[in-house]
Assembly symmetry: C2
Homo-oligomer: 343 residues x 2
DNA sequence: GTGAAAGCGCTAACAC
DNA sequence: GTGTTAGCGCTTTCAC
């Protein structure tokens, strides 16, 4: 096989020869940061030659020389989870515009796989990481010695920049909405406590209830073992089996809410007539369900963009505009048919 | 910021010194393909030294020397389309196990963006491409001079290996199902004709109808301008405005089917009592709709795996097991509530 | 403002 | 079987 296009590529030396200058000069002329060391006229000649010959710099050679790869890696637990694609997409846009290439790696929700991936990518020389897999206790993050930004999930194990949604605000909106509809007995099915989202949202729920002067009974806040429909079913079943009756259920995320909805249906309890349900994340299609799910919408693309910007700033050692340590982006409540006035 | 871990990495020369051999020898000892040129004893010493020092080869330097990057790129039109994540995930697994790193790039459905991305990735030295964005007439594919595999969509512009689902079989299953339920007036809303899937599925529909001895009237097969719900709405409206009444609608994909369902609802036509609807792709959640959508399920992960295997074989110049030119993977019909007996 | 020369870390062609 | 040497394409001192 002859892949001519890739093999006989035009290199800097060719451009320099065509422009009648030394390769070093051509390099300076082409690099925006060193362009001012070169005369206007030379710059023009080099640029024209490069353009005419279709010169594309060899990233590998540059990387070897500069010890920079212009590769950024993004680590997600499972790209088939619709939460992540919008983040990935937005991050890639920012990164690629800045000359970086995004490497995506899917850990399949497995810590060992994740560690392998990270090591492979470090060997590759990835300039930085955007990490969407953080656990609350996460030894890997503590060891990490490269620029990195956490997205969606935060950690207690390291002091890394974090970009997330304003989860407290989201939960507050949801509780406020239910209270405004007359609900007072509101159960919360939390996400797993080894994630920051599981912890943060649960804490926010307690605080919001307290803000409305509503007491929280035992069993009213239940942790789910995972952010899955199955875990939601289990938790909902436990809720239904308990003494206390709730007029509304706030779920740690949409998948848990699905579990609640299906368990309510199984038990012959109507939503929203008998019980209102609210989810979190606003996954695609949840507005097409019957009833359509009221849920908290996260600015996923904004999060991806922001994380990429912060990472770029970290890598290049510049200041990003805006705060770095902890960026909380605004959320909104998508009010739909799964919530109604308290029975 | 001191990122010690990455900066002062141990290099081949260090290993060679520690093992008391020349770097060239160390290189040979470490490379499986050249290991047999080195004595057992030396190999052992080098391996031990490398292990002890935690040597990780510098992929950039190797790439510069060997003109190989061990980077494979995957190009998708829109990663937020749930069709693609399973493919990406499966491809990444195969690739990463083979020592390759997957670069994902999202073209935002834009040919110009796509061209830019491909050029950037060529400059990066990507060893090969998995392309999910092929159009039926696609000049970019004709120019491509690197190993590449098409996935999901085929093209007329180049003779590249193609991995897809058996679309004809899928359409046939759908038509057979409807005919078995007593339907004879079945409309087809095709995808755009600049995609192989748009063309292939439409051709398959005509053939399947012919196989049942069912005539196809003018306006019974309508192309949509895009694979979107909006395009589905438009096409469905045109269908309803026509003289002929249909008892079933087969949609070019699930999004088009959504458009049909919403337009039927708007017109007060019940699905499935009055009209049956079938989609294509089996997107997540379509089983949770009311009514749940009958649709053709594609083996997305298998497609991703297969495409990656073929690409690896292309890159390494070896034979993959199985055919290369055109792999059609089996589909199945997920029968759900949106189809019923003809009225 | 430009040229010369060295070198990033690795591998492959050539000696011995 | 191992050492030597050269060089992948680029950037970046150092001269002038």
């Amino acid at each position: 096989m002859a892949y001519a296009g890739i093999m006989q590529r035009v290199k800097l030396a060719d451009v320099a020869r065509a422009a009648g200058v030394h390769p070093g000069t051509a390099s300076r002329a082409l690099n925006p940061l060193t362009r001012d060391q070169v005369s206007r006229e030379t710059t023009r000649r080099v640029a024209r030659a490069a353009d005419r010959l279709g010169y594309v710099p060899n990233a590998t050679a540059r990387g070897l020389r500069t010890a920079r790869t212009y590769i950024a890696a993004m680590i997600v637990p499972d790209i088939t989870n619709p939460l992540f694609p919008p983040m990935v997409r937005a991050a890639e846009q920012v990164l690629s515009r800045a000359g970086y290439t995004l490497v995506l790696t899917d850990t399949d929700n497995d810590a060992a796989t994740e560690r392998r991936q990270v090591e492979q990518l470090r060997a590759r020389g990835a300039d930085g990481f955007i990490i969407a897999t953080a656990r609350w206790e996460d030894p890997l993050l503590a060891e990490l010695a490269v620029p990195a930004v956490l997205i969606n999930r935060n950690t207690a194990s390291a002091d890394l920049p974090y970009v997330g949604a304003d989860e407290r605000a989201g939960i507050t909106l949801a509780v406020d909405h239910l209270v405004a509809l007359g609900h007072r007995r509101i159960a919360y099915l939390a996400g797993p406590p080894d994630t920051s989202t599981g912890r943060e949202r649960a804490a926010a729920f307690r605080q919001a209830m307290r803000g409305h002067g509503l007491p929280i009974a035992r069993g009213q806040v239940r942790p789910c073992t995972a952010y899955t429909e199955a875990a939601g079913v289990t938790a909902a079943r436990a809720l239904l089996a308990a003494d206390r009756a709730y007029s509304a259920v706030l779920a740690g995320n949409d998948l848990i809410a699905f579990g609640v909805l299906s368990e309510l249906a199984r038990a012959g309890i109507d939503c929203p007539a008998d019980v209102s349900v609210i989810g979190f994340n606003d996954l695609p299609m949840v507005d097409k369900l019957t009833p359509p799910l009221t849920t908290v919408r996260l600015p996923l693309a904004d999060m991806g963009r922001r994380a990429a910007q912060i990472l770029l700033a970290e890598i290049e050692g510049t200041e990003p505009d805006g705060p770095v340590g902890r960026s909380l982006l605004g959320v909104e409540l998508a009010v739909r048919g799964s919530t109604g006035r308290a029975a």
